[in-house]
């Protein structure tokens, strides 16, 4: 959603430029002045570390050089070679973590989108108890993330958790209680937890979007005899397109970069099936104290996300322009 405010594209049409600063030259420096704190903070916390991180990925920043990291020897592309070398465990694990993350992201974004849309549509009409559901559905998003994930960790405990209680003792689906936090099931667990946490955001965005759809559109299409499903396809979806376009990208980036969910759910010993990439890079850096290779992995991750984002923006933008024609 944040990207929709890229000022060069949509904004100027709705807001005409103020008159040229003839009488008051201070107009030219005042916006810069009040923007300064934001710029300084961004440079300090984001730009400088990013440039440093880029530099770090080209030096030999092992534990011997952490204390005097500015003197670390230049390594060229060695860190990148180590990170992607599929003949070594480092490269293989990175690839496997990347694939797990990709599957995780697609599932979490897709399910969150579907659940959020279903809930927003179900709550579109006024009915008794609507406010209660609306509030209830927002609680997972409002809970501090660690509180939510710790609770899920308890739910998924093999011997004392409610999930196995329901599946094994009440429904009798399994002979032997499965493990949910180690082994291959860890993937399902981390997806469910992330969806539980993420779908209310989609719900919130869709509710915001639905408010701006004029009721006459639905009345007119109902007069034409459109079924609710057809109305959803012909009115709701197209009207939500601007919300959708940015929300999908933002959710993709958030979910792909998710560190907290696996970190709190699994602790430091993450099972390979739940080894999400941010967490993987963190472990690769802080367990082996090889920040050079860790940085190289971060830069590769960033490049991947940049390429995906640009492609996505290019195609959605292109579709929008061609539909205007």
């Amino acid at each position: 959603m944040t990207l929709s405010t890229r000022p060069g594209t949509a904004a100027p049409a709705s807001r005409p430029d103020p008159p040229a600063p003839r009488r008051r030259p201070r107009r030219t420096w005042f916006p810069y002045l009040i923007l300064l704190p934001a710029v300084v903070l961004e440079v300090l916390i984001h730009i400088i570390p990013m440039v440093t991180g880029f530099w770090m990925s080209f030096v030999e920043l092992t534990k011997f050089f952490i204390r005097r990291w500015t003197e670390a020897p230049f390594a060229g592309l060695e860190n990148y070679r180590i990170a992607v070398d599929l003949n070594t465990p480092v490269g293989q694990e990175l690839l496997s973590s990347f694939l797990v993350t990709l599957g995780f992201t697609i599932l979490v974004v897709g399910l969150s989108w579907g659940l959020g849309m279903a809930a927003a549509v179900a709550l579109q009409r006024p009915f008794r108890g609507r406010g209660v559901f609306r509030t209830l559905f927002l609680i997972p998003y409002a809970l501090p993330l660690y509180a939510a994930v710790i609770t899920w960790n308890f739910l998924l405990q093999r011997d004392t958790g409610v999930i196995n209680h329901i599946l094994v003792e009440q429904l009798g689906l399994f002979e032997d209680a499965p493990f949910w936090l180690i082994g291959d099931n860890a993937f399902i667990s981390v997806v469910v937890v992330a969806v539980w946490r993420m779908w209310p955001f989609a719900f919130l965005m869709f509710m915001a979007g639905l408010q701006s759809i004029p009721g006459e559109l639905y009345e007119a299409s109902a007069m034409d005899g459109a079924t609710p499903l057809r109305q959803w396809r012909a009115v709701t979806l197209p009207m939500l397109a601007p919300v959708n376009q940015t929300m999908l990208l933002v959710m993709f980036l958030w979910v792909f970069n998710d560190f907290n969910t696996p970190y709190i759910l699994f602790g430091t010993a993450q099972p390979p099936a739940g080894d999400l990439i941010s967490f993987h890079i963190y472990n690769a850096s802080f367990l082996s104290w090889d920040f050079g290779v860790g940085s190289a992995m971060s830069v590769l991750l960033l490049l991947f996300l940049l390429v995906v984002s640009l492609l996505y923006l290019y195609f959605t933008q292109w579709r929008k322009e061609s539909s205007h024609a």
């Binding site: 903070l41 990291w69 209830l136 710790i150 408010q211």
Partner: protein, 279 residues
């Protein structure tokens, strides 16, 4: 427009299904926090054999929860306050002026928000260590370091949302203020801020939630003395025992302020999203 039977069925299925999905963890969280530990370890039961408020009392001594709470409160409040002030000024600039560098600024700020946190974490950690050894300003393991870090986390979203709010305030009001001889700052303080108050509160709550729930930077940039709740709650798991009833009691206690705040402000939040997203 009459509601069809199909719509009613759809609505019931969705609301019941999602309601159960959302409620299950909340239910378990609350009931477990009221159980004695022996009860919890004996295997799951839907109802406590005996309701006890013990976990809500014991949780303060098992782990230095009060200290973590204070750390979180100080770090989060200071970061929120500063971040909202910075965002107000930046949003005012972005909303009311077209100036050179406006587009690059917005693009950079918004896109850094989307980058992986680990990308900033390692360098930031080393830079903080370096500042400490060179200038003697301790940033790793102090609240200041964490506050500075958190300042920018919610900034892009706050600027974006507030700019949307400010855009909704008619420029005629600014013009009227100008005619009366008010300067830019006066217009911001006297006209824009009062009109955008709900948006500002919503942004403040968002900033608070972001910092209150942050785990990655808190786990690297804090030590025992400055640890926040996000990291501290893990310590209910010891070598021999996990005090699940106390963990969940503590989770409830630390969630209540943010959840209540968020739910109270959710209408403004939705309005803010609409202002920014549905242009």
């Amino acid at each position: 427009m009459r509601e069809t039977l199909g719509e009613k069925i759809f609505r019931t299925v969705v609301l019941v299904g999602l309601g159960l999905f959302v409620l299950l963890p909340l239910y378990v969280m609350i009931t477990t926090s009221l159980k004695p530990l022996g009860d919890v370890q004996a295997g799951f039961s839907w109802l406590p054999s005996r309701v006890t408020f013990g976990p809500f009392i014991e949780m303060w001594s098992t782990v230095p929860l009060a200290r973590y709470f204070m750390n979180s409160l100080v770090v989060t409040s200071v970061a929120t306050l500063c971040s909202v002030v910075v965002a107000i000024f930046a949003a005012y600039a972005v909303s009311r002026w077209r100036f050179r560098g406006r587009t690059p600024f917005m693009t950079t700020v918004l896109s850094t928000q989307m980058f992986p946190g680990v990308l900033f974490l390692l360098p930031l950690y080393l830079i903080f260590v370096n500042i400490d050894t060179t200038f003697g300003i301790p940033l790793v393991g102090t609240r200041i370091g964490l506050i500075i870090t958190y300042l920018t986390f919610s900034l892009p979203f706050s600027i974006w949302m507030l700019a949307g709010y400010f855009d909704g305030i008619p420029r005629e009001l600014d013009q009227a203020g100008k005619v009366d001889g008010a300067g830019n700052l006066t217009i911001l303080l006297r006209i824009i801020l009062p009109a955008a108050r709900p948006g500002i509160v919503a942004v403040a709550i968002y900033a608070f939630m972001t910092a209150w729930g942050e785990v990655l930077f808190a786990s690297v940039l804090t030590t025992e003395d400055t640890r926040t709740l996000a990291v501290g709650l893990r310590q209910y798991a010891t070598q021999t025992n996990v005090y699940w009833n106390q963990v969940l009691a503590a989770s409830i206690a630390v969630s209540i302020p943010v959840v209540v705040g968020f739910l109270m402000m959710q209408k403004n939040f939705v309005a803010g999203l609409t202002a920014g997203a549905v242009k």
